[in-house]
């Protein structure tokens, strides 16, 4: 089959690779209909993930139809149209049964490199095999482990271009508002107007936030925020963000601040000599009201130093992290899509054949031509 492969730092190419095969009884094979670029792929693309191996297939947001099922798969049949959550989770461990599917104990495979904190989180498609990941969705076919847990049938009235965002971007946005505990009347600030930032803003509006403000530096993305999410837009190149947020929140500061600006540019190992990242996170901590909640969705294993811990303790903030929402939210998001309450297709600013995968990632990485997400069709 054809697949978009990592070829070393900064390089991608569509290659001929072996078709995936069933490896476990709970697996199924999906023929991909759509797959989307994601900010979580950029550290890998840039060569900042030392565990990556040349030839690995990228992509963790995809949708397709079932072509083969293992003997233990109960909820799916051949030819079902399904969206697959980015996280690979077993559904049986204590974390999964408690609803924390993104923390699954059994979602990675093989002899994997242990993170310094030793506990592996759920697996993921399009991540290095040495980190327990699975081949990605930018391909003609994908193996889906624990298919009954991670894949969901797409309602007939939701088309592919909308439903593909139910894989990871919309669950991540939903998680941003959920971890923030957004309730009616809240003022919510979101850093980052990419797909996840916009979907976080939309989720905060849906949960009844009184005022939602999105901070970014790209005017085209901010125009999209204003048009599609019901949130206000702030361009940090033109305004003092902290002063503006205080003014727009009655001097209190936002109740909930979500860093959805993507993986920070900080080092992936520590100690490091690379420049420090985490600008958005620091600003979120400084902006948040006393006793408020700061949520960081920035993925990657980056380290962020110069963290304003004094502001966290003085203001009594709750800081919560999430990287990849487990698939549990997908059915609800698909229902909202079916009722036109959640509209996502505008996020696919570019649609390309998979053969142009490298061009698509260049557009996405450099944010040129108003690119928010590129959606590929194999």
């Amino acid at each position: 089959m054809r697949a978009l492969c990592w070829e070393g730092a900064g390089a991608l190419a569509v290659r001929q690779v072996p078709d995936p095969e069933l490896r476990n009884a709970h697996d199924m094979i999906v023929r991909v209909r759509r797959s989307a670029t994601s900010g979580g792929d950029l550290p890998l693309l840039a060569g900042r993930v030392p565990e990556a191996t040349v030839g690995e297939v990228l992509g963790h947001e995809f949708l397709g139809e079932v072509v083969e099922i293992g003997p233990e798969v109960r909820r799916h049949r051949i030819a079902d149209r399904v969206v697959v959550g980015a996280a690979v989770a077993c559904g049986a461990c204590w974390f999964c049964r408690t609803g924390l599917l993104d923390c699954c104990d059994n979602g990675t495979s093989g002899v994997t490199a242990e993170p310094p904190w030793v506990q592996p989180a759920a697996g993921c498609y399009g991540r290095p095999a040495r980190l327990g990941g699975f081949a990605g969705g930018h391909a003609e076919f994908v193996r889906v482990p624990y298919a009954d847990v991670g894949a969901y049938a797409v309602p007939e009235q939701v088309d592919d271009d909308r439903a593909v965002f139910a894989s990871a971007a919309a669950p991540a946005g939903w998680q941003g508002a959920e971890l923030g505990g957004v309730v009616p009347g809240d003022v919510v600030a979101v850093w980052g107007a990419g797909a996840v930032g916009q979907l976080t803003a939309g989720a905060a509006v849906a949960r009844g936030a009184d005022r939602v403000i999105v901070v970014d530096e790209h005017d085209d993305r901010l125009r999209m925020v204003a048009r599609h999410t019901g949130a206000e837009a702030l361009n940090h190149r033109y305004v003092d963000v902290l002063a503006e947020l205080r003014e727009r929140s009655g001097g209190r500061g936002p109740d909930v601040c979500v860093d959805a600006a993507g993986p920070p540019a900080g080092p992936t190992r520590w100690p490091a000599v690379e420049p420090d990242g985490g600008v958005a996170l620091r600003e979120a901590v400084h902006a948040c009201r006393k006793g408020g909640t700061v949520v960081t969705l920035g993925g990657g294993t980056a380290f962020v130093d110069r963290f304003p811990l004094g502001a966290v303790t003085d203001k009594g903030l709750a800081v919560r992290g999430g990287r990849r929402r487990g698939p549990a939210a997908i059915p609800e998001l698909l229902d909202r899509m079916a009722r036109d309450e959640l509209v996502t297709e505008h996020l696919a600013t570019h649609r390309l054949p998979l053969e142009r995968g490298a061009d698509g990632y260049a557009l996405f990485r450099d944010r040129v031509d108003g690119c928010v997400r590129v959606v590929f069709t194999p």
Binding site: A13, Q16, V17, E21, R23, A92, N106, S109
Partner: protein
């Protein structure tokens, strides 16, 4: 090659620890545990009698019979069973998979065995990786 490298590395680490007080290092680095014989523990989301039916060790743990000791107890809060393993003392010549307990980083090896044991008990399978990336790239066609 990797194995002799680990062996030398852990011998050096042990010698250094013997010579002076343990300096806390962050982040923790693989192979620097000054006490490689410690208990490695995993919590399995099943009751002890399901994890060790009739007192028998589950697969793949049972392959280490004679090389490790095993303890199990009910985990608090209905979380299942705390399953603990540590190498038996000394550095005997061990057959088969148990050889890892001498040559490699034993703690890491035992964590991997416990992880597979847990997966098998909880999900009925050990999750297998995709085929190796090494046999993935083919000439562009």
């Amino acid at each position: 090659m990797a194995r002799t490298g680990w062996l030398a590395g852990s011998a050096v680490a042990l010698a250094a620890v013997g010579a002076r007080a343990l300096v806390r290092r962050w982040p923790p680095r693989a192979g620097t545990d000054p006490w490689p014989g410690r208990w490695q523990v995993v919590t399995v989301a099943k009751r002890p009698e399901q994890v060790l039916p009739g007192g028998r060790w589950p697969e793949p743990l049972s392959r280490l019979d004679g090389a490790v000791e095993v303890r199990a107890r009910a985990a608090p809060g209905g979380r299942g069973t705390e399953l603990a393993v540590r190498p038996l003392g000394g550095e005997p010549t061990l057959p088969g998979p148990a050889a890892h307990l001498v040559g490699d980083e034993p703690g890491r090896y035992l964590r991997q065995v416990l992880r597979e044991t847990k997966q098998l008990v909880e999900t009925g399978e050990v999750l297998r990786a995709d085929r190796s990336p090494l046999d993935r790239p083919e000439p562009a066609g």
